[in-house]
């Protein structure tokens, strides 16, 4: 059994994929819970599609795609938040606009970089073999920044998510916190890109959280359970994708989905 479990770590690329996966598994639901309770679940998907534009720019200009993707998604995150605050377009329509527009731009850019288009599948669905050492460091450093910021402002985010007007009335700068949250979401999206893939990041941020929410516990417990489900999904997903040679992102999300379906079943019987 031990051999079975540890065989996977004989390969450096699997060790890197695991470490990166664990970092993402912790951060994704921590951000995800705020997106879910604020009915902003589509945000993760939108930022993911935007980061695909960044990937395409990276491939075209011969820069590291993860860095161009980070820049693009953070800039767009700020743009989306500004449009939302000004309230000229409905929040949801802003997301739909950015989502489809960025996919269009990305597809144009990718077709311009024809020679590289083979790589794009890995970005779309996640590919465990592609996490390099430099990239792992990048993920680790940014991951710690995201986690640290999140822990610092967690009680403010909780308060704002519960009722934004209440928070504003008591003197909390809700605009600033909202902006920080969406920038953190943008960073998480780009960190997760390699392991889970652009098309599936939203699922990793949302599914473990709604699974945890089925149990109707306190906010704290819901957060811990969300992180737990996310870690289990990533670890199990990586093993399965290694053994069966499947796309890592899809496998992780399918595992997360199974947890969700089981949680629905358990809580129905209650």
């Amino acid at each position: 059994m031990a051999d079975f479990l540890f065989e996977i770590f004989r390969y450096d690329f699997m060790v890197r994929a695991f470490l990166a996966g664990l970092i993402i598994a912790v951060i994704a639901p921590l951000i995800g819970i705020f997106l879910v309770i604020r009915r902003y679940s589509l945000m993760a998907d939108t930022l993911a599609h935007v980061s695909l534009v960044g990937v395409a720019i990276g491939l075209l200009t011969n820069n590291d795609p993860i860095i161009t993707a980070t820049a693009t998604s953070v800039i767009s995150a700020v743009g989306i938040e500004r449009i939302r605050v000004h309230g000229k377009i409905f929040g949801e329509s802003v997301l739909a606009l950015f989502l489809s527009a960025s996919l269009a731009v990305a597809s144009v850019l990718i077709s311009m970089a024809k020679g590289y288009s083979v790589n794009i599948i890995g970005y779309l669905f996640g590919s465990i073999t592609t996490v390099g050492t430099a990239e792992l460091y990048y993920i680790a450093v940014l991951g710690i920044v995201v986690l640290g910021t999140l822990l610092l402002i967690y009680k403010q985010l909780f308060y704002i998510s519960f009722d934004e007007d209440l928070a504003r009335a008591s003197g909390i700068n809700t605009k600033a916190y909202n902006l920080v949250l969406i920038v953190l979401a943008a960073l998480t999206v780009t960190l997760s890109m390699r392991i889970v893939g652009v098309l599936l990041i939203g699922a990793l941020m949302v599914i473990p959280v709604i699974t945890a929410m089925q149990f109707g516990k306190s906010f704290k417990k819901t957060v811990w359970m969300g992180v737990g489900f996310s870690l289990l999904s990533v670890v199990a997903g990586l093993y399965i994708s290694y053994w069966m040679d499947l796309a890592s992102g899809g496998t992780i999300v399918v595992v997360a989905l199974i947890f969700f379906l089981v949680s629905l079943f358990i809580n129905r019987k209650k």
Binding site: Q156, A169, G171, S218
Partner: protein
């Protein structure tokens, strides 16, 4: 309208009306010179329609003010301006002599919003977590939850009578219970002023009665300045010490007995309104 209203805020009169408040009035004596809230010349337009026209009034510390008026009369708008959620086109709001925009202790202004009973329905949090969140603005960014914070939360839960179900998630509560949780949340930040927007919308009549008794208690025993917006004129008139009638402009401001006069009622609602006071 200017600041001189038929009823000025004479505290000796108020104290006589509410014997329970006498003690509290004395202990707060130094604050008497400054009104708890001072609204001056507030105007607010939405598009072409004037929602609020030249609203000016003062609220003394320990006052219990009922804001009444027809739907669309600008009650909620006024509250939102007073809380800093909307910017008036002109006019100022001061708390204890300081302009709202410069008032740093904003957590001293408690607010129980109208929608309290509906929207948080599916929010994954326990009663205790929601009440604790009331301390957030007071604690600030870098400090952690202290034993003082703990005491304030426990006391707020006791006062609002939600301590016995503190571990329940808010989604499992009734409308009335959730309302009390929102009040406990507001009390946890140890406010000096408490705003309530249509607090009894989601609760039945018996609960309403109890609820207004509870507000009485907060006002008289704890000396909290309370502003309550309500469409329930009868209930408000019976309990509050001052009434402000709002229909775009201030129709009247004074003791409940004053606004019960037909002329104000007609001005406010455009027709005669017969008030039936329960109980």
């Amino acid at each position: 309208m200017n600041n001189s209203h038929p009823q000025n805020h004479d505290h000796s009169t108020h104290a006589a009306d509410h014997p329970g408040r006498e003690l509290e009035q004395k202990s707060r004596a130094p604050e008497h010179a400054t009104p708890a809230i001072e609204v001056t010349g507030v105007n607010f337009k939405a598009g072409n329609s004037q929602i609020l026209k030249d609203i000016s009034f003062k609220v003394s510390p320990g006052d219990y003010l009922g804001i009444i008026g027809p739907n669309g009369g600008g009650k909620t708008t006024l509250i939102k301006i007073m809380l800093g959620l909307l910017k008036p086109d002109s006019g100022t709001v001061k708390y204890f002599g300081t302009d709202l925009n410069k008032y740093r202790e904003r957590y001293e202004i408690g607010y129980v919003p109208q929608k309290a009973s509906e929207t948080e329905g599916r929010f994954p949090a326990t009663v205790e977590e929601v009440v604790k969140s009331g301390r957030t603005a007071r604690i600030g960014l870098f400090k952690r939850f202290s034993s003082d914070d703990r005491r304030a939360v426990d006391s707020a839960m006791e006062t609002a009578d939600v301590a016995r179900f503190s571990k329940k998630t808010v989604s499992k509560l009734s409308g009335g219970e959730r309302q009390r949780v929102m009040i406990a949340r507001a009390l946890a930040s140890e406010p000096k002023v408490l705003f309530m927007d249509e607090p009894t919308v989601a609760v039945d009549v018996t609960t309403q009665e109890k609820f207004y008794d509870f507000l009485d208690l907060l006002n008289q025993k704890m000396g909290l300045t309370i502003l309550v917006v309500s469409h329930d004129i009868a209930a408000v008139a019976k309990k509050v010490s001052t009434v402000l009638c709002l229909n775009q402009e201030m129709v009247c401001h004074g003791k409940p007995a004053l606004f019960m006069k037909d002329e104000y009622m007609e001005k406010l609602y455009g027709k005669k309104v017969n008030l039936i006071l329960h109980g």
